[in-house]
Symmetry: C2
DNA sequence: AATATTATTTAGCCTCGCCTAAAATTCTTA
DNA sequence: TAAGAATTTTAGGCGAGGCTAAATAATATT
């Protein structure tokens, strides 16, 4: 029962738990279901399987957390996913916001050597096209200055987009419409007291309104 | 019911029917089951589904054949499979006999544009690393001099290995042990009356014995 | 032509992953 | 602190895709 490898569905759950674990120690059934587009009852069922495999610890009615071996699997999946995204963008010429779904499928391809060879072929990249870090084969994340969301920026400050929190297709398309992409430099001109939306001036002179949901999901680095 | 896309399992069946169709007009349940490592009863079940989708025609107790739309799917799968094999060998540096299982997974990744971009990226190759033809996007096969199996060669003739019939892992490993690969030049020194095995001299001076099963699965081109 | 052999299909069962509805538990708030 | 609200788990069911064993049809043999 130990030693097995996660099925695609199990992998999706592990990866979801991994991502949500960055906000809280114990991940709730509801949040996980929302994150992977499933239902709470289905998640509970899968968690039982994952627990039998030794990949998660489950405190009934309280939440789920990855064990050390679960974390290793999750990191391997994240690594595979992000390397494929680099391949799709840099080699095949896809746009950075088109690649998530394809990488979601490619990350499940299993075979000794595949990911390591891909990594070497791509030049051992540290960041994916969305600006997210790619863990090394041994599971270490490249370090970077602390994540700040655009919603935390004071009015008047200038910053660069370095990454984004969610990678759902709708969000990526939304950003595309706003002409937002990693590397964009901008200034916060104003923020509404009413709904938190921010008026933003891009370096090229264009002005856009970012909703509070948009700002919260954008990571930035302040320009001094 | 029409217009849908085959699941991985359905795709495997379609591809199997396609390959076996090269030997006979109607493919038998038993042969297909053996070819895709399944059971006759399971194949019958899947054939019913494929028939509902309009991808195969089934004459009960007589066999199954692809419809035009089934053939299109099969060719698309073959194309995707062989392009990924080229990628794995030429870009990632895998050996030609290691890539079949990985390509078997990669071929199922679906997404608009993916295969076309991969094709362009690889330089629109016509032949995969096993020497098999890669169909074009519109489903045409590159043409080549007629396939001849090594078992048809008269004693004394010299030839080059251009491809192989089966791509089962055991066969590929067997060939590896015999140092056989596409491009190998050799001469048939002798053929046993008893079991059909052939004594073969390679260009580099090495001598091997090829069983009749080995010879039958090797395609060659005669050197005048 | 009748029977034995082989191939194929049907019948019935299983697991996995998903669902909804109902029950159980925890959290919130009056 | 007790009732109501929200969350989570359990119970029960479904479809896809696989299996074995039994029944049926086709083929080969005498």
């Amino acid at each position: 029962m130990m030693q097995s490898i996660p099925t695609p569905s199990q992998a999706d759950h592990l990866k979801g738990i991994y991502h949500l674990s960055q906000d809280a120690d114990w991940v709730s059934t509801n949040d996980l279901a929302a994150h992977i587009q499933s239902r709470p009852a289905s998640v509970t069922g899968m968690i039982k399987t994952l627990q039998l495999q030794g990949w998660v610890a489950h405190r009934a009615y309280h939440g789920v957390a990855l064990t050390e071996s679960g974390r290793r699997w999750a990191l391997e999946l994240v690594r595979s996913h992000r390397l494929w995204e680099v391949f799709l963008c840099e080699r095949l010429g896809f746009d950075w916001h088109e690649v998530h779904d394809l990488a979601e499928q490619l990350e499940h391809v299993r075979g000794r050597e595949l990911v390591e060879r891909l990594d070497r072929y791509l030049g051992n990249p540290c960041w994916d096209p969305h600006g997210d870090p790619i863990p090394s084969a041994s599971g270490e994340m490249p370090t970077r200055v602390r994540w700040i969301s655009a919603a935390e920026l004071p009015v008047g400050s200038r910053a660069t987009v370095t990454g984004m929190h969610t990678v759902h297709d709708t969000f990526l398309r939304h950003l595309d419409a706003l002409l937002v992409r990693p590397g964009l430099r901008f200034e916060v001109l104003n923020r509404s007291e009413f709904d938190g939306s921010a008026e933003v001036l891009y370096q090229d002179g264009k002005k856009f309104i970012w909703s509070v949901q948009t700002s919260e999901n954008l990571y930035v680095q302040i320009i001094e």
